[in-house]
C-alpha cells in the first residue's frame, strides 16, 4: 500500500466514525450541538443496519410459500 490516499476505497462507516465524532468543534454561525451530531450518528447506524433486516423481512413470505 502506498501512503497516497487517492483512489482508496474508504468505507462510509469508517468515514462517518471520524467525521461525526472527530475534528475540531468550533462554533460556526450555524451550529449543530454535539447532541445533534450524536443523534445523527445513532440514526445513521439505525438506517444502515436496517437494510439487511429489511431484506430478511422480504425473504420471509417466500419461506412461508414453500411450507
Amino acid at each position: 500500500m502506498s501512503s497516497s490516499i487517492a483512489g482508496r476505497d474508504v468505507a462510509l462507516v469508517d468515514l462517518v466514525d471520524r467525521l461525526l465524532a472527530g475534528g475540531v468543534v468550533i462554533a460556526g454561525d450555524i451550529t449543530l450541538s454535539v447532541a445533534d451530531i450524536d443523534l445523527v450518528h445513532v440514526s445513521l447506524r439505525a438506517l444502515v443496519s436496517s437494510v439487511p433486516s429489511l431484506e430478511a423481512r422480504g425473504a420471509m413470505p417466500r419461506m412461508g410459500d414453500s411450507l
Binding site: S4, I5, V10, A11, D17, R18, L20, G22, L44
Partner: protein, 245 residues
C-alpha cells in the same frame, strides 16, 4: 454538495479551505434533516474527506467537524483570529504525523477452540464429562459450556489489551473508538478493537511490521489486524485526546 470550488481564506498565516453552500440546504433546520439522509450525508462526507486528503498532501491540517458553517468570509476570519493559538498548537503537534486506523478482528470459533486447548479448567471439565452419563453429564456439559464462554471472553479481552498496549506504547498518541457494528461495516468475525494511532509519517513501514508481528503472535487465536489510512488526523486535533498526548 456538488464538488464546488474550494476557496482559501487566509488570516495571519492560517488558511482555511471553504466552499460556498446554499442556506436552503445547509441552514440549521435543513441541515438537521439532511444529516439524516444517508445519500446526502455520504455525498457531503466524501466531499469533505476529499478536500482534507488533498490538503493533507501539502502539510499539516486541522480537520474541522463536518458542516461547520459561516455566513460570510468575515465570520471565517474572526474564527481564525479567535482560535489562533489552539489551531497553531494543533498544527505544530500534527506536523509530519499521520493518523492510522487499526481494527482487531477475531473469529469467535477460533477463540473458543483456543480456550478449549489452553484452559486447564476446561480440560478438567471435558475429562469429567467423558466419564459421566445421564443427568450428571448434562450438568457437567452446562458447566463446561459456561467455562468455555468465560475463558473465551478472557482471551478476547487479553488479546485486545495486548494489541492496543503494544500499538499505543509505540505510537505518538492513540484513541479508542467503539468497535463497529458488523451490519454497518460488513466485517467478518468479531471486532474487538477499533483504534486510531498517530504515527510519524516516516515510520509507516515500522507500523506495518509491528502489525504483522502482532498478527503472527496471536495467529493461534485467529486474530486479524486491519489497517486503514492514512487519515486526516480527525482523532488527534485536541490536545490530550489520548493517553500519550
Amino acid at each position: 454538495m456538488a464538488p464546488g470550488l474550494i476557496e482559501p481564506i487566509e488570516h495571519d498565516g492560517l488558511v482555511t479551505h471553504v466552499s460556498r453552500v446554499p442556506l436552503a440546504e445547509f441552514g440549521e433546520q435543513p441541515l438537521r434533516e439532511n444529516l439524516n439522509d444517508l445519500d446526502w450525508l455520504e455525498r457531503v462526507a466524501r466531499a469533505h474527506e476529499t478536500v482534507l486528503e488533498a490538503a493533507l498532501e501539502h502539510g499539516p491540517i486541522v480537520p474541522l467537524r463536518l458542516c461547520t458553517i459561516y455566513e460570510d468570509e468575515a465570520g471565517v476570519r474572526s474564527m481564525l483570529a479567535s482560535e489562533d493559538v489552539r489551531l497553531r498548537d494543533a498544527l505544530e503537534r500534527l506536523d509530519g504525523r499521520l493518523e492510522w486506523g487499526v481494527k482487531l478482528l477475531v473469529s469467535r470459533d477460533a477463540l473458543a477452540a483456543a480456550a478449549r486447548e489452553r484452559s486447564p479448567e476446561v480440560a478438567a471439565l471435558e475429562e469429567e464429562l467423558a466419564a459421566r452419563q445421564g443427568g450428571g453429564a448434562y450438568m457437567v456439559g452446562r458447566r463446561l459450556e459456561r467455562c468455555v464462554a468465560e475463558v473465551t471472553e478472557r482471551l478476547a479481552s487479553e488479546l485486545a489489551d495486548d494489541v492496543h498496549a503494544q500499538l499505543g506504547d509505540w505510537a505518538r498518541d492513540s484513541v479508542l473508538s467503539s468497535p463497529q457494528n458488523r451490519e454497518l461495516s460488513g466485517h467478518e468475525g468479531e471486532m474487538l478493537l477499533n483504534g486510531a494511532y498517530l504515527v510519524d509519517a516516516d515510520r509507516t513501514h515500522e507500523l506495518r511490521a509491528l502489525l504483522a508481528e502482532l498478527e503472527e503472535r496471536h495467529r493461534g487465536l485467529g486474530a486479524r489486524l486491519e489497517l486503514t489510512g492514512p487519515w486526516p488526523p480527525y482523532n488527534f486535533v485536541t490536545r490530550g485526546a489520548g493517553a500519550h498526548a
